[in-house]
Symmetry: C2
Subunit: 143 residues, 2 copies
DNA sequence: AATGATACTGAGAATCAATCTCAATAAAAA
DNA sequence: TTTTTATTGAGATTGATTCTCAGTATCATT
């Protein structure tokens, strides 16, 4: 399914679905949570597949363009991605102590998005909402 | 006022309020909107004041630590800051066509922040909400 | 004022994610 | 087959940010 979409996307741009791109797509889909380009690159090498870092970066950009994945956040250590196609949109809470992220969906937030855009004459395409603070575990540790 | 706070913050850490730090604080306060370290550095040089890039980066980190400024967002061209002390918290809409940002305050959003944290047993400290899309002007240009 | 301890500065080096270069290669088109 | 076009990867490059460290400034104590 995702393969079809990616191939179609590439065809429209006059580009090709190579085995490197296939490997990168496959490993991308294998992630359930967030991931970064370097660990994707290592995962590919571990499994005997082949693709250079350059191709990983290039292909992740293509996958973003065609809407299969999204950039979650830029950190001081690089960009975090997640596979989003077919997943319900969600937002994140980020623990500033342990680094864990909690994902959540909020209908209220989606409604608020619409309302705010209407009020400002803004044509909203997407949003990110990130709450930083302390997760349950770290609240205890801290005290 | 801000100077007092910064000086107090530095004193508590056993650090000093030097003329370089004074220059950086002064120019930081002179920004009404968002800014980046490089243009702050250039602004300082233009006005005959002196501070190296290293000191600019170091001092911006200190100003973040003491709560006078905040990082707004990380872009592919670096970090965007804004002077937030004494300003009501706000969030942003970002035009993906012209790059303009719209600032807005939403009580509903603040309430939602609280509600979501309660539901997830998360101790929220702060949040960022960013809506990406097309501003009024760019909607017209696009069609 | 002199001494010693500590913090600060800036020039340039180092770091590191991300992109670019470009010659070799593969796939598609003619 | 020949020609055209897209892709690849190794290594170079870029660019923001941080680090290094020797020289300087500031503070505290005598
Ligand atoms: Mn997620
Ligand atoms: Mn702002
Ligand atoms: Zn935690
Ligand atoms: Zn615009």
């Amino acid at each position: 399914m995702e393969k079809k979409i990616f191939i179609g996307f590439l065809k429209d741009k006059g580009q090709r679905f190579t085995k490197e791109r296939a490997a990168i797509l496959q490993k991308t889909l294998s992630y359930h949570g967030h991931f970064d380009p370097e660990s994707l690159y290592l995962k590919i090498r571990e499994t005997g597949l082949k693709a250079s870092r350059a191709s990983v970066y290039r292909t992740l950009n293509l996958l973003c363009e065609c809407g299969l994945i999204d950039k979650v956040r830029k950190t001081e250590h690089g960009t975090i991605y997640e596979y989003t196609f077919g997943h319900k949109h969600h937002d994140h809470m980020l623990c500033i102590m342990c680094g864990n992220t909690i994902e959540f969906c909020s209908e209220d937030l989606e409604r608020l998005h619409e309302g705010l855009c209407t009020k400002q004459n803004f044509r909203g395409v997407n949003h990110t909402f990130e709450i930083r603070g302390y997760c349950k575990k770290c609240q205890k540790k801290r005290r």
